[in-house]
């Protein structure tokens, strides 16, 4: 569970699951991201910590190629998102912050649509669907309409959907927003399980400090700039703080941020 700080490291044979190199982005005059670099290794859980306006959403839009990177590069398993978007995107699973399931359709229909978007045929899609729904313990609900699910269940289905094309890098944008404590813990446990069992690399964006575990890697983003990155312990000690929560508060100048709504 090593954290890769530089991709040019010759000791590294396999490419990082996600590699963000010197990415800057502005909307008109407003700079949303300023020379941000970090990477996520396969089989690791990295938390992208930032308050609102930190640039998390912009970063996610760039990684998913909603719009093109203005400067710098983003690579997924070595494939540049700008130059080979198809190869990059097929290796990436995404759970957006906004709910993106079709409420009127069933879970199975939603997943089938996603499979089609990835060019996965009906028979194969059906097999995989069973498999990914089992992973999030929703296999017996496949025929249910999404509208009838709870918020936590919808999120689990979205995670299952993101796994359908077997990506080895998973991007989650504030996946626990609006969920109760139990559902939050569930989702976190599921995703951590994926990292341990399947060797998936995860980038988990949040502003909730209590979602960070001591074994995680963190990337701290504030007003478009990267303040620090690395293992939780390292970041805390570099900031001279007893824990990551205080370190984050100290770095960003925020008071406590737990429980704050977005």
């Amino acid at each position: 569970m090593s954290f890769v700080t530089q991709t040019t490291d010759p000791a590294m044979a396999a490419p990082a699951a996600l590699d963000v190199v010197g990415v800057s982005h502005s909307y008109g005059k407003r700079k949303a991201l300023d020379n941000v670099s970090f990477s996520v290794s396969p089989s690791s859980f990295a938390v992208l910590l930032g308050l609102n306006g930190a640039g998390k959403s912009s970063l996610f839009s760039l990684i998913t190629r909603l719009f093109a990177t203005q400067s710098g590069a983003i690579r997924i398993f070595g494939f540049d998102v700008g130059r080979t978007p198809g190869e990059a995107l097929r290796r990436l699973g995404v759970v957006f912050q906004a709910r993106t399931l079709d409420l009127d359709l069933s879970i199975a229909q939603n997943l089938a649509y996603h499979a089609a978007l990835h060019g996965i045929g009906v028979r194969q899609a059906r097999e995989r669907m069973q498999n990914v729904l089992e992973q999030v313990e929703m296999a017996d609900r496949a025929k249910d309409k999404v509208r009838d699910l709870s918020g936590g269940e919808m999120r689990r289905v979205e995670i299952a959907r993101a796994l359908l094309h077997r990506p080895h890098m998973l991007l989650l944008d504030e996946p626990t927003v609006g969920l109760d404590i139990k559902a939050r813990a569930d989702i976190l446990a599921h995703v951590r399980g994926l990292v341990a069992r399947e060797g998936v690399g995860v980038l988990w964006a949040t502003h909730l400090i209590d979602e960070v575990e001591t074994s995680d890697d963190v990337v701290i983003l504030h007003r478009g700039r990267l303040l620090d990155k690395g293992n939780v312990g390292e970041v805390a000690s570099r900031a001279g703080a007893p824990d990551i929560g205080s370190a984050f508060a100290k770095l960003t100048g925020a008071s406590r941020i737990e429980g704050e709504s977005r």
Partner: protein, 282 residues
């Protein structure tokens, strides 16, 4: 495979024709499913033209006579004259609604699930367009069925077949126009605005309700606008095709407009042109 990273990298590169076909089928299928689940949308798509047909046209039947102009070789009832215009209106509404749902989708994130697909973006947008046009075909044929029961029908049943390619093309044109507008105009969230500034002007300043020679009598300026309006050509293309004929000028204009609108929409949705970014970053 021992290493997960090399496992991922070992995925076969590129996409075959089969993958494209699966994707297109999936997008059309989803749009059809959504349409079937939205009964109100279907009913209002059907009622709107029927109101025009049964109330407006019936009322104006005696006021407006239509002389013999191609493709008609006899005097026709006013209801018969406006039917192709109403078919085009159904498609115009559907095209705008479907583009509106793209904007709505974008906010809800559904557009993002489409755009995060690894297939090329032009293909995804075109698939979405074909899906929207397919839904409009269902609506038009449902309308034609009711019209048939009202004895408004083409001279031969073949008309129902020959009108199909015309409807496909005009459906694509309106969808492409809607898609272009959805990428450019922020105010499009408000459907009333689309009604006022797109649908009504296009519908009224066209040959849908009155033949162009009549418009010319009334006002040459209006006739000029009608002749610039792509909707006019969609109506004429459908009108002639319903009578198993081809209007070459209409065909050329509709085909050309479809290509231009679609190309512009694809450019507008291109990540590096930044239309989306401009919206997002506001």
């Amino acid at each position: 495979m021992t290493n997960e990273a090399s496992n991922a990298a070992a995925l076969a590169k590129g996409f075959g024709v089969a993958q494209y076909a699966i994707c297109l089928k999936g997008v059309v299928w989803r749009e059809a499913l959504r349409f079937l689940h939205q009964r109100e949308r279907f009913i209002s798509a059907l009622v709107r033209p029927l109101v025009w047909l049964f109330i407006f046209a019936a009322g104006f039947r005696s006021v407006l006579g239509v002389s013999i102009i191609p493709p008609y070789d006899t005097y026709v009832l006013y209801e018969v004259y406006i039917t192709p215009g109403l078919m085009a209106m159904i498609q115009l509404f559907n095209g705008m609604q479907s583009s509106l749902s793209m904007v709505y989708d974008r906010e809800m994130g559904n557009m993002r699930t489409l755009l995060v697909s690894p297939l090329p973006r032009w293909f995804l947008l075109t698939s979405r367009l074909i899906a929207g046009a397919s839904v409009s075909l269902l609506q038009v044929y449902a309308f034609l069925l009711v019209a048939y029961l009202w004895e408004i029908e083409p001279p031969s049943l073949w008309g129902y077949v020959t009108v199909l390619p015309a409807l496909i093309l005009s459906g694509l044109m309106f969808g492409a126009l809607g898609m272009l507008l959805s990428s450019l105009i922020k105010q499009l969230e408000n459907f009333a605005g689309v009604m006022n500034f797109v649908i009504f002007p296009m519908f009224f300043a066209s040959s849908a309700l009155y033949p162009l020679w009549r418009v010319k009598e009334g006002g040459p300026w209006l006739a000029f606008f009608c002749e610039l309006n792509p909707f006019t050509y969609a109506v004429e293309l459908i009108r002639f095709a319903f009578y198993q004929q081809v209007d070459p000028l209409a065909l050329a204009v509709v085909l050309g407009a479809t290509i231009v609108f679609l190309a512009a929409a694809i450019l507008a949705y291109d990540p590096s042109r930044g239309m989306l970014m401009r919206r997002e970053g506001l």
